[in-house]
């Protein structure tokens, strides 16, 4: 569905936008970007950039950047296994995604553990079932009962099995190779989630992944996560200039090799809290930076992508709720097209399933806001107002009410709206307890659309090949048994 509300949040004037862009170009031209992979240095040298090989530094020329921006498509689709879940990036849609982290945690104590394969599966089933979650991140692949060497691919195969929604794919070892094969088997695209390691450095792992995903026809991200005052300037404008430069360098690389690849400007930027030195992912400045990123990305003709809304709180408390809630609405109104904080706690250190349920409500509210409301004869309801006039309490029984209420009002899944006595009688539960109760209910009821038997077999074959590549012979046999069991 198209959003009616056009992204009105503006924190930058037109002049500000230009100043940031010019500053980014100056960074690219004067300071340059360091690339760990020599192949990348050659590619960019051929395009006319100046390369300092011993320092692995590329100084760009503006025309390379401008041409790269011109060759980015102004819209593209990311195909999901179920086409209904495909994502259209054309500047007028906002999508919500679940986050990913190496541990799962308890919503009340914050204590975390490495997920078991069951935890991984439960998370994926919830993602497939929750109505306001459009996609999922996979950044890592921790599973307590699988060998760590094959964790990323195992989680990815499970993702393709348990949800027909779009998934991102990480830059991790040589996992892109395998993930690309899996995506082909299930007939979906992924979003290659890669970026710069600030300040001004692209690791080989990331550029490798960017080029591999792009070569296979998948859209990719470029961008970075700056810690303001740590890995970039402490000022919002300075960090935006640096991040714009880091993003444009990635865009230039990908477009030089695979012109026309769908590109998303990724952000993971947040202030460093100068009282303690840790990151402040739930801060209001994160909201301001997103509003600016929305404006900057529209100016450059790029789509965008964010790992927020997030919070620094370790538990599902008020802080987590208001930080994520405020960010979600700000981001939605800023035209952030993909926001991926669902279920994440403590600066994306951990995942909390109860929080995923709560975030589903936050996302639903943000999406409802963007839909806006129609003003026409039917919704103005003049006829009905004339008819009812001054009579009391007649609207509830009017047909118009029954016909329109679902389209006009949003119904959150776990927010409490009960009368006090009813709420008290039902156990005085808070939102976390209600979310906790909803989880087994959804997991038992939901049926993910199964893959075809051939696709299942092919995924297994790929997993076996991964095992063979990463593990020695004796272990492999043992593992194959486990994975087919």
């Amino acid at each position: 569905m198209h959003n009616k509300v056009r992204f009105p949040l503006q924190v930058l004037s037109d002049d500000d936008i230009k100043s940031i862009y010019v500053a980014a170009l100056e960074i690219l031209v004067d300071v340059g970007i360091q690339f760990e992979d020599e192949r990348v240095l050659h590619i960019l040298e051929e395009r006319g950039c100046t390369v300092d090989y011993p320092r692995m530094r590329v100084k760009f020329i503006p025309s390379v950047i401008e041409q790269a921006l011109r060759s980015c498509p102004s819209e593209f689709t990311v195909k999901a296994r179920n086409p209904e879940y495909s994502l259209l990036f054309d500047g007028s849609h906002v999508y919500f995604a679940a986050h990913s982290a190496p541990t799962v945690c308890d919503p009340k104590t914050g204590l975390s553990h490495k997920p078991s394969s069951r935890d991984v599966q439960d998370r994926l089933i919830l993602i497939d079932a929750l109505e306001h979650i459009n996609a999922t991140l996979t950044l890592t692949g921790e599973v307590s009962d699988k060998p760590p060497e094959v964790g990323v691919e195992w989680v990815k195969a499970e993702t393709f099995r348990r949800t027909a929604k779009v998934t991102t794919a990480p830059a991790f070892r040589n996992s892109p190779k395998w993930i690309i094969e899996m995506a082909a088997v299930v007939g979906s695209q992924v979003i290659g989630c890669c970026g710069c390691s600030p300040p001004l450095f692209y690791a080989k792992q990331d550029t490798d992944a960017m080029l591999q995903y792009a070569a296979a026809g998948h859209p990719v991200t470029a961008g970075s996560g700056i810690a303001l005052g740590g890995t970039g300037p402490v000022t919002l404008a300075g960090s935006l200039a640096q991040q714009t430069a880091e993003t444009l360098a990635g865009v230039a690389l990908v477009q030089s090799c695979h012109p026309g690849t769908g590109m998303l400007w990724l952000t993971e930027t947040a202030p460093m809290d100068m009282r303690i030195g840790d990151l402040a992912w739930g801060s209001i400045e994160v909201g301001m930076l997103h509003a600016a990123q929305g404006q900057m990305s529209r100016f450059l003709g790029l789509q965008n992508f964010s790992l927020f809304p997030m919070s620094s709180s370790h538990i599902s408390d008020q802080q987590l709720g208001f930080e994520k809630g405020m960010q979600a609405i700000i981001m939605a109104l800023s035209g952030i097209q993909f926001m991926a904080g669902g279920g994440g706690v403590y600066n994306e250190s951990s995942i909390c399933l109860e929080q995923l349920i709560i975030d589903n409500d936050i996302y639903g509210m943000a999406a409802r806001f963007l839909e806006g409301f129609e003003v026409n004869a039917d919704t103005l309801a003049l006829d009905i107002i004339r008819e009812i006039g001054l009579q009391r309490n007649s609207y509830l029984s009017h047909k118009h009410t029954r016909r329109m209420f679902k389209q006009e009002h949003f119904f959150p899944g776990v927010s409490n709206r009960l009368a006090f006595e009813t709420w008290e009688k039902s156990g005085s539960k808070d939102i976390v307890a209600r979310a906790q109760e909803r989880i087994p209910h959804i997991i038992q009821k939901h049926e993910s659309a199964p893959l075809s038997p051939e696709a299942e077999r092919e995924l297994d074959t790929i997993l076996r090949a991964v095992e063979k590549e990463r593990l020695s012979g004796t272990q492999t046999e043992h593992l194959t048994e486990q994975s087919t069991a």
Partner: protein, 224 residues
């Protein structure tokens, strides 16, 4: 200028994080042949202690702390050089730590914070950066003879490198010379014990307290 005023000024330049003044007053102290150990103890160390406490209490911020430690470094270098000339050897710093993020891991922020706070506590810090190969850690331990080696790891996949470094130190016969502290998002107390590290800390400030305790225990060992 009276020695007490000079020492006051030095202390203030540290508290203010005023690098230029710290240098100026330290040089003037040399000119005026002030008592250097006294200047170190009552000026520099007193100042930096106050800064450390203020940071701990949330009264000042990280950038303040960092500038104070830079001011401290510049003044103490001047004094230490002078003392060395006259054959004296006073250590202004508590101890020496070599620190880095292990191979395959480029997460920088937490490790740098830990280095910074160690500097703030008066340690000499040799920061090897990120993605540091095991051999470089071994070479640095051999060369700098630190009291403590700090290993940071944020990735589950790179955590194993901490064990590799400890094993390599063992092989090189260097393990008993240095206390090993581990930390970073992927690390737990339990892991630290499994791989035979001497200490784990999940937070930079705690890491410094723990480093100071390790140092005390080492100095205890030396005296014994």
């Amino acid at each position: 200028m009276q020695t007490s005023d000079l020492i006051n000024n030095l202390e203030h330049s540290i508290i203010e994080g005023d690098v230029d003044n710290a240098e100026k007053w330290a040089l003037q102290a040399l000119d005026e042949k002030a008592d250097i150990p006294q200047a170190i103890n009552n000026g520099l160390i007193k100042g930096i202690k106050q800064v450390g406490d203020a940071f701990g209490n949330g009264e000042i911020f990280l950038p303040d702390l960092i500038l104070s430690s830079e001011a401290m470094k510049i003044a103490s270098d001047i004094f230490e050089n002078e003392l060395r000339k006259t054959g004296q050897n006073i250590q202004t710093s508590g101890g020496k730590i070599v620190i880095g993020t292990v191979k395959g891991d480029i997460h920088d922020i937490g490790k740098t914070l830990v280095s910074t706070l160690f500097k703030g506590a008066g340690f000499t810090v040799i920061d090897l950066g990120v993605d540091v190969p095991t051999d470089d850690f071994i070479a640095a331990v051999r060369r700098h003879q630190p009291h403590i080696l700090g290993l940071s790891s944020l990735l589950t996949t790179s955590a194993i490198e901490q064990k590799n470094v400890i094993d390599a130190l063992d092989h090189a016969g260097l393990r008993s010379q240095v206390k090993i502290m581990v930390g970073g998002g992927a690390i737990t107390e339990q892991w630290s014990q499994e791989i035979g590290a001497d200490a784990y800390s999940g937070d930079a400030r705690e890491a410094v307290d723990c480093g100071c305790r390790l140092l005390d225990s080492l100095q205890g060992e030396y005296h014994a």
